[in-house]
């Protein structure tokens, strides 16, 4: 019950955040240099065509009126036509967003398992050989941009070793499962199409790994830091003193308090990864939202830009709510504080 009121309250706050965000998006879109109508029809179209389109797009009205039109349309899921793809922006989003989301989830999974795993290993063997190895690796992971990993993996595992496909979400010739969730893996599973499932997974691994390297390194460092700090706490000494086996001490009494920082950062990394994946998506020809958004920006495709930013805004808000819920679950001090402020 407490959880439900918490979600309701946060959702209510979110409305205002999104409204503010929409105003910012709208203003940025309108003050960007260049005439969207001109961009849409091309440099050689006659002036009267441009003028007609301008009228159609309400570009000649005062800004508040333009915003009003834009917002009512957006609320109906109508972001207009993409000036570049000539399709409904909403349809574009429906197609590209799940692809990005699937990639981001896979990368999150890799980040969580390897990041927390390596961090724990490092903390348990603090200042020993393993720890130093993990620290060097994670340092490299943090300072290397994900597109470098993308190119590296592409060349090494894609071409030289030829272990993984390097283009798109499915191989040519593999029948595409009917779209239900937009997640290739889940749709394949729903359709009982295991060939497609394995092929989709196969395609996911390299880009997801490339995307996960930086965040994984980050999580490993954070996990190591909080674990080695918590290892010196009296509550660990105490539970050991009472004869509780080391397995339980590490896997339960050390792990839980140490994961709070890791999980908060992981949520931000997930949302950030969704937005910043464009180079990785570009390199692996992944039909994702990030690449779509980047193209839209380069071509001043206002409708598409607005929609992408709004979608990412919603993702950030949702991820934040989820992270807060999980952290409140893990840490009663936070949970109680949240409940008290009701």
């Amino acid at each position: 019950m407490r959880t439900l009121t918490f979600i309701a309250r946060r959702a209510f706050h979110a409305i205002f955040v999104l409204l503010g965000l929409s105003i910012v998006i709208f203003i940025i879109a309108r003050i960007m240099p260049g005439d969207p109508a001109r961009v849409a029809v091309g440099a050689r179209a006659p002036e009267w065509v441009v003028e007609q389109l301008r009228e159609q797009m309400h570009l000649n009205d005062p800004l508040p009126i333009q915003y009003y039109y834009w917002l009512t349309d957006a609320l109906h899921g109508d972001f207009g036509i993409s000036l570049v793809t000539r399709r409904n922006v909403a349809d574009d989003i429906r197609e590209f967003f799940p692809a990005s989301l699937e990639l981001a989830f896979t990368s999150l999974l890799i980040t969580a398992v390897l990041g927390i795993g390596l961090g724990t290993l490092s903390a348990r063997h603090k200042d020993k050989f393993i720890d130093n190895v993990v620290r060097v690796i994670s340092y490299m992971g943090v300072v290397t941009p994900s597109f470098v990993f993308a190119i590296l993996f592409l060349l090494l595992f894609g071409y030289v070793l030829d272990l993984f496909p390097t283009i798109g979400r499915l191989s040519e010739g593999v029948p595409r499962p009917p779209t239900v969730t937009g997640f290739m893996t889940i749709d394949s599973l729903l359709a009982g199409n295991f060939t497609a499932l394995f092929d989709a997974l196969h395609h996911l691994i390299l880009p997801a790994m490339a995307l996960a390297m930086g965040t994984m390194a980050q999580e490993a460092r954070i996990t190591r830091a909080s674990m080695s700090e918590n290892l010196t706490k009296d509550y660990i000494a105490a539970i050991r003193a009472f004869g509780v086996p080391e397995r339980t001490v590490m896997g339960r009494f050390l792990l839980k308090p140490s994961l709070i920082a890791t999980i908060s950062i992981m949520g931000l990394d997930f949302a950030g990864g969704l937005a910043n994946a464009f180079l990785v998506e570009l390199i692996f020809v992944w039909p994702g939202l990030s690449r779509y958004g980047m193209n839209a920006i380069l071509r001043k495709d206002l409708n598409a830009i607005s929609a992408v930013i709004l979608v990412l805004g919603v993702v950030f808000i949702v991820v934040n709510i989820i992270v807060d819920l999980v952290v409140a679950r893990l840490d009663p001090r936070i949970g109680l504080r949240a409940a008290r402020s009701d």
Binding site: D234, A238, A241, G243, R333
Partner: protein, 339 residues
């Protein structure tokens, strides 16, 4: 009273590696508890009491801590050499500990029950086979023993929801839940106000009497030790400096540091035992050569700066680490002062 040794610490050395260097904290600690005995340990703050106790249970955080030498014999077996399984059986059932700061000793993100239940589960081989429900029933018992109201509900509470006094009681209950042969009580109740501290001490006294377990009681306050313990150790800067049966120690303190402690009016709030001696505990980064007490000692001699006094018998059951009582050193010195 029997004199079978239960716990014997021999020449224990512990260091902490910190940013500025190595803290040489424990510098050859000798300590013994006999079966059924209540032993007191006093010394001003930072002298290494807690460090010694944590070293016994091998629960010092490594790093920064490192045990660089010595033995900790529990019933003749060296704890420092035990493998995981034997160590686990010695912890809890063999030796258990009430921590100095109950708030720090309870894991903030687990309920009391979630912390108490695994302790009970591993307290005996039979308990390991119990279901969650049966375990929960058992978990209520130690909470009842420490006179906590509504123990059922307490199992589902988080430490932050309890008062300081309740946390202290929970910690005592947890430490006794394994029925230890030796209980270490590290300044129980120091963090509480005087009336509650008093209640807690009385409760503790009653519980150990019922169980006939051996006890190590650490305290700042000499009065508490005098009242509860059979024998007392005095510790200074990582060394045991004096040991004697309680009455003897209070009647006839030998070590200059102990004399300083006795001269100090023990403050009720704790923390001020060393008021009779000017100065502070020395730095462990560069501890004084020879006798670590010599910079503060009113009776320091030349030899004290260069050599470390052995912890040896002055009388049959009275040991002291001071050259004043070393016949080879003190006699010529005394003659010199009388002359």
């Amino acid at each position: 009273m029997s004199v079978t040794p239960l716990l014997e610490i021999k020449n224990l050395h512990v260091e902490f590696k910190v940013y500025g260097g190595v803290l040489k904290v424990l510098d050859g600690v000798d300590f013994r508890v006999n079966v059924g005995e209540k032993v007191g340990l006093v010394g001003e703050t930072g002298c290494g009491k807690t460090t010694t106790m944590k070293a016994i249970l091998r629960i010092l955080p490594v790093p920064p801590a490192r045990i660089t030498g010595g033995e900790v014999l529990f019933k003749g077996r060296d704890i420092l050499k035990m493998k995981e399984r034997e160590l686990r059986e010695t912890r809890g059932r063999g030796i258990s500990m009430i921590f100095q700061d109950p708030t720090a000793a309870l894991n903030p993100v687990f309920t009391i029950g979630a912390q108490l239940e695994p302790v009970i589960r591993h307290a005996s081989p039979e308990n390991r086979r119990l279901s969650k429900k049966e375990l929960r029933k058992l978990a209520v018992i130690p909470l009842k023993e420490v006179a906590l109201a509504d123990p059922e509900r307490l199992l589902d509470a988080y430490p932050i929801q309890l008062s300081g006094g309740m946390r202290q009681r929970v910690c005592i209950g947890m430490a006794l839940a394994t029925n230890p042969e030796l209980l270490i009580a590290d300044e129980p109740g120091t963090s509480l106000d005087v009336t509650i501290q008093d209640q807690v001490l009385r409760l503790l006294q009653r519980l150990v009497e019922q169980r006939h377990s051996s006890v190590i009681l650490i305290s700042h306050t000499l009065g508490i030790v005098r009242q509860m313990c059979d024998r007392v150790y005095v510790m200074y800067a990582g060394n045991m400096v004096e040991e004697a049966p309680t009455r003897k120690l209070f009647a006839n303190p030998l070590h200059p540091y102990t004399r300083g402690l006795m001269a100090a009016v023990p403050r009720l709030s704790g923390g001020g035992v060393a008021m009779g001696i000017p100065g502070r505990i020395p730095s462990y980064l560069h501890p004084p050569s020879g006798c670590r007490f010599h910079p503060r000692c009113p009776q320091a001699m030349e030899i004290c700066k260069h050599e470390k006094p052995a912890f040896q018998q002055a009388e049959d059951d009275h040991r002291v680490a001071c050259f004043l009582y070393d016949p080879a050193v003190a006699e010529p010195q005394k003659e010199a002062t009388t002359a």
